[in-house]
């Protein structure tokens, strides 16, 4: 189309007027984005906005339509009844614990993968981590429940060996929920860390060693601080995944560990209080966002203070 405007210079190279290059580079295909935008506005933005608006309606059991009469009754209820506001702290506490455990377990494996130079071994480790990330959560939870249940593999083996008299409480409590969430979120932590550990040039660590630093010293004063971006990204992803999970607390906690997503489901599906369920959804979203922002600010400050 623009071909006729192309001129060939004396040295045979193609010379193209700047204006044509700008047209070619510019968003000539802008309409390609329209289907996705329309789809996301109708089926994501509008529904989410109206759900959040519904949270500001007075609770009316079984009524789902938006009304113009706004109220903050739902939020007052959440922040004055211990069963609800404790769930906020429980959700944040569990998610933070999952981040710490996930970092302690995930960092060494990410380091090993980043430092493994054998391509076959490296690919095998990557496929193992990725497969376990992409495998259906409920399937993995099935495996964990068979392992940790009162009649599960661990308890029945220990009972048979006579090491314990009664089954250990490994599931249907906070311990079980944390184990489940760590299992589910570990691959995300590992994948975030691999990238930033790989990008640290090995000569930096070697330089520290040659200047007399011990291996541990070289690691903690060179590698670990330099992998901070990966640690930050990994913990942020793991935190939001852990905070918003419904299926893990439901199965591993047996409805005894009341976190916010469990409350949302119960309010909506079991008691039909849509407005109140919507209000908990708003609080879940905002408290997650707030916790992440505070964490991010603190991390930025720590990083700024060091340099």
């Amino acid at each position: 189309m623009y071909g006729m405007a192309v001129t060939v210079g004396s040295d045979g190279r193609v010379i193209r007027p700047a204006i044509l290059i700008r047209i070619a580079r510019g968003p000539a295909f802008w309409w390609l984005v329209v289907p996705a935008v329309v789809f996301f506005i109708i089926f994501f933005l509008v529904p989410t906005a109206s759900l959040f608006a519904l949270a500001f309606n007075k609770p009316a059991t079984g009524v789902i339509d938006l009304s113009a009469a706004l109220s903050i009754d739902n939020f007052i209820r959440i922040f004055t009844r211990s069963i609800y506001y404790e769930a906020i702290f429980r959700s944040i506490g569990i998610a933070s614990l999952v981040c710490i455990v996930g970092l302690l377990l995930g960092y060494p494996l990410a380091y090993v993968i980043a430092k493994t130079s054998n391509p076959g071994r490296n690919a095998l480790l990557m496929v193992l981590v990725l497969s376990s990330m992409q495998l259906d959560m409920v399937i993995r939870l099935y495996g964990l429940m068979v392992l940790l249940g009162d009649n599960g593999l661990i308890n029945s083996t220990l009972l048979d060996l006579g090491l314990i008299k009664a089954p250990l409480p490994l599931m249907y409590n906070i311990f079980g929920v944390v184990v489940g969430l760590v299992q589910i979120t570990l691959p995300f932590m590992i994948l975030s860390l691999i990238g930033s550990i790989t990008s640290i040039h090995p000569s930096l660590e070697e330089a520290a060693r040659s200047l007399g630093a011990s291996r541990a010293r070289a690691f903690f004063s060179v590698v670990f601080p330099m992998s901070m971006p990966g640690i930050l990204a990994g913990t942020l992803i793991v935190f939001s995944l852990a905070m918003s999970s419904y299926v893990v607390p439901a199965l591993m906690g047996g409805w005894k560990v009341l976190v916010m997503p469990i409350h949302i489901y119960q309010q909506v599906a079991e008691t039909g209080r849509w407005q109140f369920g919507a209000a908990i959804a708003v609080v879940l979203f905002v408290s997650g966002l707030l916790a992440i922002t505070l964490y991010h600010l603190a991390a930025m400050r720590a990083a700024g203070g060091r340099s």
Partner: protein, 267 residues
């Protein structure tokens, strides 16, 4: 080799522990599905295809597997097409609107899945469009949460794409469409496949978004397994899990062959 020997001993030990935490649940599901007894004991009582046969003749698990597969395939098709189209624009255009669109396409993965599902369910019921508890309604939910992954995967490659290649084709007389088809599409085709496989896997294993959108006549495999797990550890569910595990591992191996995974995840 020298680099590998520099890995501290403690790191090696914890790495094995971490790998065990990642893999043991999967191994247990496979053993439970191939076990000959009514429940899994350690050591297993013996291998049999009893539960695999039970799955293949099951009136709950087999149809659920089929439903999940069908939903994942349709979701993948829609997400890949509209996601790739969007990525082509997002990677090239600049400006405030484009930045706003980037946020729009990331939001569905930032928002908890249960909230996305609930919002759509409330929307379907209050607007009375007849999508509540239908397959079309569920697929829409899955497209919303899988499309961001297609967009991210394709954009990652397009950002590093040298556009002078396409311009060279154009200057040699190719029409914009031909230049796009022969040059750009060829370069990004592997990342489109990778994005499509991610979309498929995420849709196939999706639980949280599905929770509110499924119904008594619309049961996916994760929902059916979840319902079964509430009451007992049915080995038929584990047998169904074996088939899902093979599907996912095959898909992951395919992705790692066609793309450089570290390039996609290592940012």
């Amino acid at each position: 080799m020298r680099g590998e020997s520099a890995i501290p001993f403690a790191f090696r030990v914890i790495s094995w522990l971490t790998l065990a935490i990642l893999l043991i649940p999967v191994v247990i599901v496979i053993l439970a599905g191939l076990n000959s007894g009514d429940y899994l004991t350690f050591p297993p009582q013996g291998l049999s295809l009893r539960w695999v046969v039970a799955f293949l003749t099951s009136e709950t698990f087999l149809p659920a597997f089929g439903t999940s597969l069908l939903i994942a395939l349709i979701t993948t098709l829609i997400s890949t097409i509209i996601g790739t189209m969007a990525a082509l624009v997002l990677s090239r255009a600049r400006g405030r609107i484009v930045n706003a669109l980037r946020v729009l396409f990331i939001l569905p993965i930032v928002l908890p899945g249960i909230v996305v599902g609930l919002a759509l369910y409330v929307f379907y019921i209050s607007t009375d469009v007849g999508l509540a508890r239908t397959m079309a309604g569920l697929i829409i939910g899955h497209v919303i949460v899988t499309c961001p992954f297609v967009i991210a995967t394709v954009t990652a490659v397009l950002v590093g794409f040298d556009r002078s290649l396409e311009e060279a084709a154009r200057s040699l007389g190719a029409s914009p469409f031909t230049a796009f088809r022969l040059v750009t599409l060829k370069v990004i085709s592997s990342s489109i496949s990778a994005g499509a496989i991610f979309a498929f896997i995420i849709s196939f294993g999706q639980f949280e978004v599905t929770l509110f959108l499924s119904g008594p006549n619309l049961q996916t495999l994760p929902i059916t397994m979840y319902t079964a797990l509430r009451y007992s550890f049915e080995p038929t569910a584990a047998a169904a899990g074996i088939f899902a595990i093979f599907l996912v591992v095959a898909a992951t191996v395919t992705t790692s062959r066609i793309t450089d995974l570290k390039r996609i995840f290592g940012r």
